[in-house]
């Protein structure tokens, strides 16, 4: 008996399917036991006809648009009310949700309502005979945890972008396989190449068309999305609208070198050390982890990460930053990453090109002196 895999998709502000939803569909496809296993995409919202039709053009997926007045703007309550009855009536192995602000908001409650397993912030998985084993980061990325659902249905949230660089951590099993020490059929599946090697274009439209011919082994999806409408849901929560992120000087975006402060700098007084280091480079700026902004050591506009700015400078120097995924989300596109941290196990070192295991407060003055010397050396040579 083929049980289906469900994807809960969402619409981006422009009425197009959100890029994270395309990533989710690719994820769902690689969870299938065989290419005949159906994938059903649910798209809740209001005025979502065009986005649903767009998704229905993807090969190998069936799309149901869920239209409703109560779904005009996101609310966990409305999403759970609309989705749970539809999902409870189906035989579903996996319900795939994005681990973004909204997905992380409704998915755990949905799992409880359905009596389903719940595995969140998934970064990678491997397929075993019993099914997929999911892996996720724990302890600020210092450890990976492999976990399996033990219920008929599992709600799984996928960390957005975790696969995009193709460097998601792999399990010891893979290493064993690569070394030829393991001859089983274990397969670690990451997303298809096109989803992890490059950023998903924001509109999504052209890629969808292109991909139709690229994807093999998929049967063509139905020509149109199924549309159902849900009656008004009486809601306790009243949405009051979106508030824009404070629009502050975007000097971080233009910077070629970012010296970024983490909690490990120990206090506001040490920011001056980072400033002195940054001063030695041209087009340099100071950045920060959320912990530093929360503590008030630097204003929020310096924050880099999932809920802050996304940067991709030529050089990123992470000072006392542990490397939590929410921080990496904003800086892993940097061209050259240097990390200074006293903990040799810190997760930041896994994205770094150069790792320095040292105490910051004693190391930074040495680095500043060395850089100054080299700059002056260069100036001499240039004369």
């Amino acid at each position: 008996m083929n049980a289906e895999i469900v994807v809960i998709a969402e619409v981006a502000a422009e009425g197009q399917p959100a890029p994270v939803s395309l990533e989710l569909i690719a994820f769902a496809k690689s969870l299938r036991r065989n290419a005949a296993e159906p994938i059903r995409v649910f798209l809740p919202g209001r005025g979502i006809g065009a986005a649903a039709a767009e998704l229905a053009r993807l090969p190998g997926v069936a799309v149901t648009g869920i239209e409703g007045e109560s779904l005009a703007s996101y609310s966990a309550e409305a999403w759970k009310e609309a989705l749970a009855p539809l999902l409870a009536a189906r035989k579903t192995r996996f319900i795939c949700v994005s681990h973004n602000a909204n997905g992380a908001d409704f998915a755990p409650g949905l799992a409880v309502r359905l009596g389903a397993a719940c595995i969140t912030a998934v970064e990678a998985f491997r397929i075993e005979a019993e099914g997929p084993i999911f892996s996720l980061s724990i302890l600020k990325g210092k450890l990976q945890m492999e976990i399996v659902p033990e219920a008929e249905t599992a709600v799984v949230t996928l960390l957005p972008g975790a696969f995009r660089r193709g460097d998601a951590p792999s399990s010891p099993m893979d290493k064993a396989r690569k070394d030829g020490t393991n001859t089983t059929q274990n397969e670690t599946v990451l997303l298809p190449e096109e989803f992890r090697r490059k950023e998903i274009p924001p509109t999504g439209v052209t890629t969808l068309k292109e991909k139709k011919s690229e994807v093999q082994g998929d049967r063509a999806g139905p020509p149109a999305a199924e549309m159902i409408s849900v009656p008004d849901i009486p809601l306790k929560t009243r949405p009051l609208g979106l508030l824009p992120a404070p629009d502050e000087a975007a000097d971080l975006a233009a910077a070629e070198v970012i010296v970024s402060a983490g909690r490990g700098i120990g206090g506001e007084e040490n920011i001056e050390l980072l400033r002195r280091l940054a001063f030695l480079f041209s087009r340099a700026a100071i950045g920060a982890s959320r912990a530093v902004c929360d503590a008030g050591w630097l204003p929020c506009r310096y924050q880099i990460g999932q809920t802050g700015k996304t940067v991709s400078p030529r050089l990123y120097i992470a000072c006392g930053i542990s490397g939590a995924l929410q921080h990496l989300a904003g800086m892993r596109g940097s061209q050259y990453i240097v990390a200074v941290n006293r903990d040799p196990q810190a997760a930041i070192f896994r994205v770094a090109d150069v790792a320095v295991v040292e105490e910051l407060v004693s190391f930074l003055p040495l680095l500043i002196a060395a850089c100054r010397k080299h700059r002056e050396g260069a100036a001499e040579a240039g004369r």
């Binding site: 966990a76 309550e77 759970k80 602000a101 992380a104 908001d105 409704f106 998915a107 755990p108 409650g109 799992a111 409880v112 389903a116 397993a117 719940c118 969140t120 912030a121 996720l136 724990i138 302890l139 600020k140 990976q144 945890m145 492999e146 659902p149 033990e150 599992a154 399990s171 290493k175 306790k236 929560t237 949405p239 009051l240 609208g241 979106l242 508030l243 824009p244 404070p246 480079f281 959320r290 929360d294 008030g296 929020c300 999932q306 809920t307 700015k309 030529r314 050089l315 542990s322 939590a324 997760a347 770094a352 090109d353 150069v354 040292e358 190391f363 040495l366 010397k373 080299h374 260069a378």
Partner: protein, 257 residues
Amino acid sequence: MKILVCIKQVPDAEAPIRIGADGRSFAVTGGAWRMNRFDEFAVEEALQIREAFPGTVVEALSVGPARAAAVLRRALSLGADEAIHILREGEEEPLPGEVAALIAAYVRDRGYDLILAGVMAEDDMQAQTGPMLAERLGLPCATAVVAETIPPNGMTIRVERELEGGLREALEMPLPALLSLQSGINRPRYPALSHVLRARTQPMMTVRAGDLPAPPRRERVVLLFLPAPAAKTLFLTGTPAEKAERLAELFREKALL
């Protein structure tokens, strides 16, 4: 108003971590445990609401083994009025679904107007316990909350949730409700001496997890592993001065300096 704050004891992630022989548990060298940082914001927010609404009672609750009592003492020393320890023996960490079910079993019908939790635990980083607890109790819920206000009548709560890139969403919910709080919503205070002294001797309520209805277990941890360092990462060696010198050279070679 009656407020419940759910707090978790987590290992200090900066200490070296080893994986246990079973492959499913870990040990932190030095064994340092602390209050989950996101929960510190939840305790602080509850105390600030109490200041705004005199007569409010703040209760802190934690599910965990005997050592978890330390975070409850910490909550008392910060100013919480009462502490409830759901004592769950065993070093193996319970998964969020189990924790939410245990808390729900205790909390049900106890008349809390507001339940606060941290947006996630720093150890398992699953961000499930809060929204699962709300679902079990049938409460409206908002996660990743960065601002909250309760109008003087105390009937509703207005919150701002944080979305991607610093965008915020405002919503209003009737009380009782559950919020999971994002870091930065406030500046957690330090314990006051008078509270510290009281916390040392104040009795806590202990409820044995075994006396509550058995929670479901719908997930199983298979394996923990230390990810290998990326092959491309160059670890600098030598004295601090040698490392600094080498790094400066690298900057020059890359034409960054």
